[in-house]
Symmetry: C2
Subunit: 472 residues, 2 copies
Amino acid sequence: MFEADAIHQHIDEHLNEHIAKIQEYVRQPSVSGEDRGMHECAELLLSHLQRLGCAEAELVETPEHPCIWAYYDAGAQKTIVNHGYYDVQPVEDEAWTHPPFAAELVEMPPFKSVLVGRGSFNSKGSYRAWLNALESIIAVHGNLPVNIMFTIDGQQEVGSPHFPSFIRRYEDRLRTADAVLTPTPSQEADGTVHMFLGVKGTAFFEIECSGKAWGKGPQDYDISGGTKAFVDSPAWRMIHALASMTSEDGNTVLIDGFYENAVPPSEEDMELVEKLVESFDDAPWKEQCGVKRWMDDASGRELIMRYLFGATLNIDGIWGGDIGPARKSVVPHTVRAKLDARLVPNMGFTEIVNKVRAHLDKLGYTDIQFAQVTGYEWAKTSASEPVVQAVLDVYRRCGIEPAVWPNWCHSLPLYLFAGDPLHLPVCRGGLGHGGRPHSPDEYLVIEGNDRVAGLARAEKSFVDILHSYASA
Amino acid sequence: MFEADAIHQHIDEHLNEHIAKIQEYVRQPSVSGEDRGMHECAELLLSHLQRLGCAEAELVETPEHPCIWAYYDAGAQKTIVNHGYYDVQPVEDEAWTHPPFAAELVEMPPFKSVLVGRGSFNSKGSYRAWLNALESIIAVHGNLPVNIMFTIDGQQEVGSPHFPSFIRRYEDRLRTADAVLTPTPSQEADGTVHMFLGVKGTAFFEIECSGKAWGKGPQDYDISGGTKAFVDSPAWRMIHALASMTSEDGNTVLIDGFYENAVPPSEEDMELVEKLVESFDDAPWKEQCGVKRWMDDASGRELIMRYLFGATLNIDGIWGGDIGPARKSVVPHTVRAKLDARLVPNMGFTEIVNKVRAHLDKLGYTDIQFAQVTGYEWAKTSASEPVVQAVLDVYRRCGIEPAVWPNWCHSLPLYLFAGDPLHLPVCRGGLGHGGRPHSPDEYLVIEGNDRVAGLARAEKSFVDILHSYASA
């Protein structure tokens, strides 16, 4: 017998403690891309999992930042894999209203209290709320209703370079699991819920155009701009190489075969799309993205289709030459750009990197060099899976009919679970709300309103989801 | 009677003092673009001019950094205008072997002693050497052989925004002058001398492509890269806007009418070119530019023609989005680029900026905004001018037959003197050598060799040039 009410009451009675635990975790910076606070944060999370009562709990060292493996043995019939990550995106050059690692509780209309901080929502604060829920279950019930394998990445925000080998290491254990389940705050600012049954694959890479590799233009340093009359420019070369990759509006990729392996949406996909169209409102998206007009002024079904099935090539950043405040006339010797591609079924990560390389080679840009290549594959779970139905059940009991999306516009390396060889169904969900991931003033709602669950209700929903799946 | 030998001897006897004065001046940073040390440097130079015996010497305040006006009244028949500037380019992000403001004397093969520092050659060290020469003349002779109007810019390296109004202020005085003469070390590393009778005009501007101005894409901050599937990208927009401006090799400007006012070289120009071709060797240029191959593998006459008469559009720098060491997947809300155009007769600075603007407008890039627009016009002096002949005369007496170039690939606002309304002939020249302007380890030769004049011989040549012009 799962004592839901008693557990809910325990959450209410220990809410301040729960908030303090989130603050402690968010205040420990863990910027993987800058190697800032990573080991400290891993140790902190490990100690949380040990205190939870995991029979196994260990840092798993990698060539960079550690992953974490932990196993809670409930002696239960069902076993879930819980997928998390403890790293966050950098904050440099961002204009935060509140310090990004202070985890301050502030009013942010329409919410009376949110916790502001890098990782408050994506994903440290959300994840610690999940651990709070587990602690309350154990405090009341003495045990969990399912066994849990915790698989925690330390470099999700930089493309998870070592997570695949970590997962391979525990492959035999993970084969025995039934599903991947990651309870997390999933309400929009207006209280609606979107469930995402898939993720896009991604390919990250830097390209560098340098006089050195080209054999033309300035070789080792930037030279005076007056020489442009007789010296080639790696900067113009980079501009034209990049321009060759897309249509003039930047929205259609012109690389040979880029889209050729994208498969049309399935019947289930299109059924879900038709349902989505009925109640779709893009206003909250506009608010959250800080965008006034969508690409091609798309709306309704068209916007949904792009969101779900659009494969992209994006410039994350570009820099070279004189980028300081002063004016300095130079022919730059090097220009670099960071790009990422987002991939839908069945586009492959390595395939796409190779196609970009082939495109550059075909146009004679053989000297343009790739660096920092990383990425992963897309993943997809059917709406009919019991773990998905269990989460839907909890929403519906709360009077929420979620919008079920067959894919997500963002990327997570879920293919490691959903793809070969494990083929586990993967589901995320829960009440609660946070916003501005990867942006200034990222937040997690602490005190909710009549539409959005506050932290306590969010944690309770995590409890209910676990119960729903265990008893299904 | 001009006592040349005695003055030369005075230079030899006071060389260490002269070096110390150069060091004092170079060690005072004066980075106009970063507002670093500007007023201190202006005061320092002013004090030098006062000590020289200028009857008038004053800082002339501008909305940014002061210019300097000084007048040395020798009671002579002829009056020259001396044009200088006391600011230098930034050093940030440059890899210097010696600290850029230490003015260290070091060995730099093939030279036993050079003074290394930002501005050592361009132009503070060189300019202080000229003042050293004047001090020695006055020390020996009690007076100078010509009257000198010193017109000194504080923002040459950022496009001289306030120099034109400074010159206008002294227009009536400058009308009474006979020529502009700026003695400066002009030997190459192999001892050869190049005289440049013109300068190109220049247009500097920044362009900014932002979601805000566009009304599309991210408005106020960078947003997650996954949104590229349905959000427009100001970064791709900037790439395509820039790509539209040149041919694929970056070397032909495709902006309507960009070249239309460029006039063909004159007869005198082509006579000078034919002479240049005879002895032209590009090896020292390659060494100085750190370039292996010229544009289109040009050589000889073709290379000279591009150098002299090539009008260009150059990307000085470009930056936007994630340019940090970490990987951050974002759709950038803003990308900026700094560009400069170099202009030959009769291309106008304002004309070219307007044409770039019209080009962007024609293609629909009306939202791309211009900032930091500044620049100036080309200038040209005939080889037949007495001031040019006076300088040539000194070279020839030293056994040097200079290569006379009807134009220069670089820019200086000499049009203020050579153009309307003053129409003064303008000439620069002298022995001595320095290198790497705008680049790390910029240097001025202190101890010469059998081909290149050291500091003492350079200062002596400045003395001789003044004498040659005074007595012509």
